[in-house]
């Protein structure tokens, strides 16, 4: 088992390196860093000197190593657009996105999992049909449309909730959080729901499919034949066994949440990483683009690693070996 953990970690490192390589290639080959940084007034001679100073004439590999080293130390370079350190720009925005993402994920789990279990256990109920129909539509409506509709309904027509911005925030150390103010929550609600809806429908469908599969298995049948009380059957046996494969997908979904936050942040003008990234695309601000890439990949890989380890911890088949 130790071997498995080590193997997974090596795989993760490999993926991160590959992503770093992509980001680095972006830096080097898309546009010329020098011209971006200096503008037209600087003379060619000065540009050459800058190039030499920044080590842009060094061989590819040494540049890549330096790049990676810098990243590991937290030096992410400077934005072409704002001339500020990218690291600062991103850390400024991380709390907003993370809070949004986590709340959205919690919403999707709190609603999605029970809904999935319910629709699996009562396949012919009227509620089940309604839920299934709703999720079908939910999967088909793009996130930004949901956002627009919510804004229209609650923001414009009813005027209950704000339609842009984060509301009041509180600073805790480095972290600027909006979870501690009432206005913060009011502002968070619509974006979180928007972001969560898509994940919710996916989760629900997944849980439902898995649960139905489990209910058909031999050990459930055997447990029924033994007269195990139905309640226990449904929850202790079926649901627990369903959760195991579901956990892995939840991990992937977290990555999806972070990614889809781009759209949600755009619709609600939520000042998070996604909005920053969008702006950087528009202005072809390569450093920010590249770093965003690496940061997202990092979150993703981390979450997946944790999920894999969780999997091993939960499923005894992966942990223990034969007795004889």
């Amino acid at each position: 088992m130790v071997y498995f953990i080590v193997k997974r970690m090596i795989q993760s490192v490999f993926v991160m390196l590959a992503v770093a390589f992509l980001a680095f290639s972006l830096f080097r080959f898309v546009g010329d860093p020098i011209t971006q940084m200096t503008g037209v007034e600087t003379s060619v001679v000065d540009q050459e000197r800058l190039r030499e100073e920044l080590g842009l004439n060094d061989p590819f590999v040494s540049q890549f190593i330096r790049f990676t080293g810098d990243m590991l130390q937290g030096d992410f370079g400077y934005s072409y657009r704002t001339r500020q350190p990218v690291a600062d720009m991103i850390t400024e925005r991380v709390p907003a996105t993370l809070e949004l993402g986590v709340v959205a994920l919690i919403i999707s789990l709190l609603v999605g999992v029970p809904a999935g279990v319910y629709t699996a256990l009562k396949p012919r109920g009227i509620w089940t049909q309604t839920i299934l129909m709703t999720t079908l539509v939910g999967v088909s409506v793009p996130t930004f449309v949901i956002g627009i509709m919510l804004i229209f309904l609650f923001g414009v027509q009813l005027g209950w909730l704000p339609t842009f911005g984060r509301g009041g925030t509180v600073q805790i150390g480095n972290w600027e959080s909006s979870l501690f103010t009432f206005s913060g929550w009011r502002a968070l609600l619509l974006p979180a729901i928007t972001l969560g809806v898509y994940q919710l429908t996916l989760t629900m469908r997944l849980v439902r499919a898995e649960m139905m599969e489990v209910m058909r298995s031999d050990y459930i049948r055997f447990a029924m034949a033994r007269g195990v009380p139905m309640r226990k059957l449904h929850y202790k046996h079926a649901m627990v066994n369903t959760m195991v494969p579901v956990i892995t997908i939840i991990g992937l979904q977290f990555g999806g949440v972070i990614a889809f936050s781009i759209v949600t942040e755009s619709v609600f003008q939520w000042p998070g990483m996604g909005l920053l990234f969008l702006e950087s695309i528009r202005f072809v601000d390569i450093p920010v683009m590249g770093v965003y890439l690496v940061v997202i990949a990092f979150f993703f890989v981390l979450v997946n690693l944790v999920v894999d380890l969780l999997y091993v911890a939960i499923d005894p088949r992966l942990r223990l070996r034969e007795l004889e």
């Binding site: 992503v19 546009g31 088909s140 781009i262 759209v263 969008l278 695309i281 072809v284 990949a297």
Partner: protein, 301 residues
């Protein structure tokens, strides 16, 4: 008997499933509309000469101030809404289908080979897939777009817009195909008819494409419908963000972005007509996809 029954059973199920019928009708209507857009539509939204600002902001036919020529009203540029959504749908479909095809060819090819050869080749393909998966679809699409913007000279950027968009979406979808193809190929590799073919001494390419491929088409078909919906949604999202198709050759997503400006000012149709149209299209594709999935997995019935 099973293939016949499946066809027959599939048809029977189809005929008795009201949602599937409605979905198919809606999807067909939209697709036909998109294909024949140039004949049906009143104006060509791309041809700047065919419409004028004076016709702009006209409401749909059941409201006051409407011009009966434009059944669903016009947008701020004077474009007929019906024409706009038909052309928009056409663009969305073209991009979606092309991206899907590219993704399918790459994904299935790699997945089949990975399943067949296993070993190191498989490991390499899986690592590449891992890297691709570490970057969610939107991110990949945005990145490709950003890179293209950085690399290509401004002159041809506009022309290549569609191609770049297609490539971006295709790259975000291929992994799905590859994984499914690989998993199903693994299953087939254990089947005896494959072993018989290999034993006989047949070429690997023949074993993969003549023997294995026909047997893994089922799940792949289901993925295709789901991914078609994803591709269309992705393109709409990108256009909405302003990174997809521009306002003078708008797709449905672009139209929605334009419409959003008018959300508060009362010209509701510019926003909601394209939105409803997009939803209808994607919902019908999803219903058909679900339907297909149920056919190929008889146990779920």
């Amino acid at each position: 008997m099973i293939a016949f029954l499946k066809k027959y059973e599939g048809l029977w199920l189809f005929v008795h499933s009201p949602s599937a019928i409605v979905a198919a009708m809606v999807a067909t209507l939209i697709i036909l509309g998109a294909i024949f857009a140039s004949w049906i539509a009143l104006v060509n939204p791309y041809d700047l000469a065919s419409f004028s600002l004076f016709d702009g902001l006209l409401p749909p036919v059941w409201q006051d101030g409407a011009n009966p020529k434009y059944l669903l009203g016009t947008d701020d540029q004077g474009r007929d809404m019906i024409s706009a959504i038909l052309y928009g749908a056409r663009l969305s479909l073209i991009i979606g289908l092309s991206a899907l095809t590219i993704a399918a060819v790459i994904g299935v090819g790699l997945g089949l080979a990975a399943g067949y050869y296993g070993g190191r080749f498989d490991a390499v393909v899986m690592r590449i897939a891992d890297v691709q998966l570490a970057l969610p679809a939107i991110l990949t699409a945005l990145l490709i777009d950003g890179i293209a913007r950085g690399i290509l000279p401004a002159a041809i950027q506009q022309d290549l817009r569609v191609a770049v968009l297609t490539l971006a979406i295709a790259l975000s979808l291929w992994v799905n195909f590859a994984r499914t193809a690989r998993a199903t190929t693994f299953v087939q590799m254990n089947k005896e008819y494959v072993q018989a073919a290999i034993m006989m001494g047949q070429r690997p390419s023949r074993v993969m494409f003549v023997h294995i491929l026909p047997n893994i088409l089922g799940p792949l078909l289901v993925i295709m419908t789901v991914d078609l919906a994803s591709a269309i949604l992705l393109e709409a999202t990108l256009s909405f963000l302003g990174i997809g198709l521009p306002a003078d050759s708008p797709s449905l997503g672009t139209l929605i972005r334009i419409g959003m400006q008018f959300m508060l000012s009362g010209e509701w149709w510019i926003l909601w007509i394209p939105t409803l149209f997009l939803i209808a299209l994607v919902v019908s594709i999803n219903i058909l996809g679900d339907f297909l999935r149920d056919i190929f997995n008889p146990r779920l019935r």
